[in-house]
Subunit: 243 residues, 2 copies
């Protein structure tokens, strides 16, 4: 990585990371979308994933807290509204996620307490927030680029989960439908920012590492779910145990 890449070459490298490492490749997702999990396992997935969803606005605020560029803050802040909601008309992605966990029969206070989440989930999620707090701004932006690969997984999830689970109804899948509309614009903006601002070999290597790191954050969460709830099914102390 000693030679500088053109912006287009950098984009190709970023996309190659997604093709190899995005969590749609994880066997837990194949099981989830293919109808191979029972309701308890889907509950475990939704309850753990809440930790990630609820951390995203903190991550975006952390990015803004490091940003001296007013225009970039103005362009970024809608991400916080997208997740936290705004006023009465926009409930936000976290609320929509809780509609999913409600629909799965989980107690909302229990989900929000995160007491039943796997420690590995919490560690991964907080590592992501910390990464954005501590790394350079362009690395922080680059770590959001998993959104480039999200629409495909959301589409698979909507169709696969609706088709394969009788305990999943259309109304609880609104989170994913909304993200299909939001993620592409966010990803395009972040990709453009990274291509314009990673202009040395060192910075280009750093943004590629940032995307690998973020893929690891997502992958590690599915590893933990697989281990705790599928095979070998070793649920750690205090973690959620399906009824």
């Amino acid at each position: 990585m000693t030679k500088i890449m053109s912006p287009e070459e950098l984009e190709d490298e970023l996309r190659a990371i997604g093709a190899a490492r995005y969590h749609d490749k994880h066997p837990f997702h194949t099981l989830l979308h293919g109808g191979k999990l029972n309701k308890g396992q889907v509950q475990a997935w939704a309850l753990n994933r809440y930790c990630y969803q609820s951390a995203v606005p903190r991550k975006d605020a952390a990015l803004m807290s490091r940003c001296y560029d007013r225009q970039l803050r103005r362009d970024w802040i809608h991400r916080i509204h997208d997740h936290d909601g705004e006023g009465k008309e926009e409930e936000g992605g976290i609320e929509r996620w809780l509609v999913l966990t409600d629909g799965l029969g989980l107690d909302r206070d229990y989900v929000m307490s995160m007491k039943g989440a796997l420690p590995a989930t919490r560690f991964a999620v907080e590592a992501y927030v910390r990464f954005v707090q501590e790394k350079s701004l362009v690395e922080a932006v680059a770590s959001s680029l998993t959104e480039l690969f999200a629409p495909k997984i959301h589409k698979e999830r909507i169709s696969g989960m609706l088709e394969n689970y009788d305990f999943i109804s259309d109304d609880v899948m609104q989170y994913f439908r909304r993200r299909l509309a939001q993620a592409p614009d966010d990803a395009a903006f972040a990709l453009d920012y990274v291509k314009r601002n990673a202009r040395t070999p060192e910075t280009q290597a750093a943004v590629l590492d940032a995307l690998r790191f973020k893929c690891n954050v997502l992958w590690a969460q599915l590893d933990a779910l697989y281990h705790a709830y599928y095979d070998p099914g070793l649920t750690p102390p205090d973690a959620f145990v399906p009824a």
Copy 2:
């Protein structure tokens, strides 16, 4: 400070800190509002104060990045919009501050570069951002409580500066007029939060210290201006020199 205070006693202590330490007591403000400064000195004040204004959204984002409570984030985020602006209809407080520096004949790019600001200004401002990043959430909220005392100084500033300086016109004072409408609600919200959440002697001592700290952040900026531009007028290297 070993005895727990009632919320009302805590409020009295917080207000006593403002009465003793808020920067409306600083001689530089008396000079500023009383028409005792020349245009160059007012330029120096406005240019240095830009550093503070432009850091406020980073401070508020830092607070939100530490906040696990979605409702509190939803209640806080308008502060970022108040300063950064939102869409075309709301220019934001930073833009309004730049209208003031424009009106004073300062080059906007030079102001925004902060290259002419006093090092002591930058140190104080960044200490504030760091405080909010590192201290407890209730201390971070408490550090915003200088807003309790702001409306009085804004009113004095509007009338005093308009009356006393022929180079200050009504249209450049919009920043202060808008803050007269914004600050009281923000201060009331933060005061209520602090009174409800500082419920041990240790936490109450910490929030009082947080407000003292914030008063120091403001006071130190005026000390630096006084020293560099009034008496003895020792302007440090690279700092703005009035024409």
